[in-house]
């Protein structure tokens, strides 16, 4: 087993964490604008963004939009080698939420839904952290041979 196989899982969960943090930021923006007239709540498709960031979507290569790494030279590393990946999601990838209950000031932030999403995302972020911690512990015990 090569070293990259060992750290593959950590790398994957690291990318997922970055995207979770990004989503947390977007939802925080929605909650912050709960009283702003004409504000449209946003979110992004986490599954698609993660597939983009890890290159696991059929068609392979991780896209620059999701990982923030541009490859302009044959010698440049793609984002898959654990080098890049800022977890940035372009605002073009973000989508507007569908209005469920229209309000008179054209603001469509559903605070209950946003809070639920926020809590859900926070728990999933913590889950990602635990996966990484578990992998690190496994690696350490393999290294120490205890």
């Amino acid at each position: 087993m090569s070293a990259s196989r060992l750290t593959e899982s950590i790398d994957f969960h690291g990318r997922a964490l970055l995207l979770r943090a990004e989503r947390q930021k977007v939802i925080a923006g929605n909650i912050a604008n709960a009283d702003t007239p004409r504000f449209a709540a946003r979110d992004f498709d986490f599954k698609a963004a993660l597939a983009d960031a890890t290159g696991s979507r059929e068609g392979a290569e991780p896209s620059a939009a999701a990982t923030g790494v541009a490859t302009t030279h044959a010698g440049h590393l793609t984002g898959s080698g654990g080098t890049g990946g800022t977890g940035r999601v372009d605002s073009t990838v973000q989508k507007y939420r569908v209005t469920e209950q229209p309000s008179i000031d054209a603001n469509n932030v559903d605070l209950d839904r946003e809070r639920a999403n926020f809590a859900d995302n926070a728990v999933r972020y913590e889950a990602g952290l635990r996966f990484i911690n578990g992998s690190v512990r496994t690696l350490l015990s393999a290294i120490r041979g205890e």
Binding site: G29, A32, D35, T36, A122
Partner: protein
């Protein structure tokens, strides 16, 4: 790190909501004010929120302006009042106290929501700092 930006976004919201609360306090304090010698009574003020996009796809909020309400002022018949006009009416402010109380509750709830968001972000960051140590 996007979680750091949560503090900027929620911070801007907390600041905007506290300004709203400030305006509500000013309105409520002047709810019973009567017109001065110039005949101008206190006018109810309202903040206008505006979304402020950050460079990386987040959305903060700011108070773009404070507008004055042009609703007609309250007029109370009180002939003995020193500020009464010839017909015996005193001009008071145009503050709607019920509306302001609702405004206050809404501002306070939004403030709490944003503080909670910042607390969660802080906990997540702390746990991220301890990554690989446990």
């Amino acid at each position: 790190m996007s979680l750091m930006k949560v503090f900027n976004i929620s911070g801007s919201a907390v600041s905007a909501q506290s300004q709203r609360l400030n305006v509500v306090a000013s309105n409520l304090a002047n709810a019973e004010s009567v017109a001065g010698p110039d005949g101008q009574s206190y006018k109810s003020r309202q903040v206008v929120f505006q979304s402020q996009p950050t460079a990386d796809g987040g959305a903060g909020v700011k108070v773009s302006s404070v507008i004055e309400d042009n609703a007609p002022a309250k007029r109370v018949y009180e002939p003995g009042h020193p500020m009464a006009d010839q017909t015996g009416y005193v001009t008071q402010s145009n503050v709607n106290v019920v509306e302001e109380m609702v405004n206050m509750i809404s501002a306070s709830r939004s403030y709490q929501n944003n503080v909670e968001v910042m607390n969660t972000a802080r906990q997540l960051l702390q746990k991220t700092l301890q990554m690989g140590q446990s």
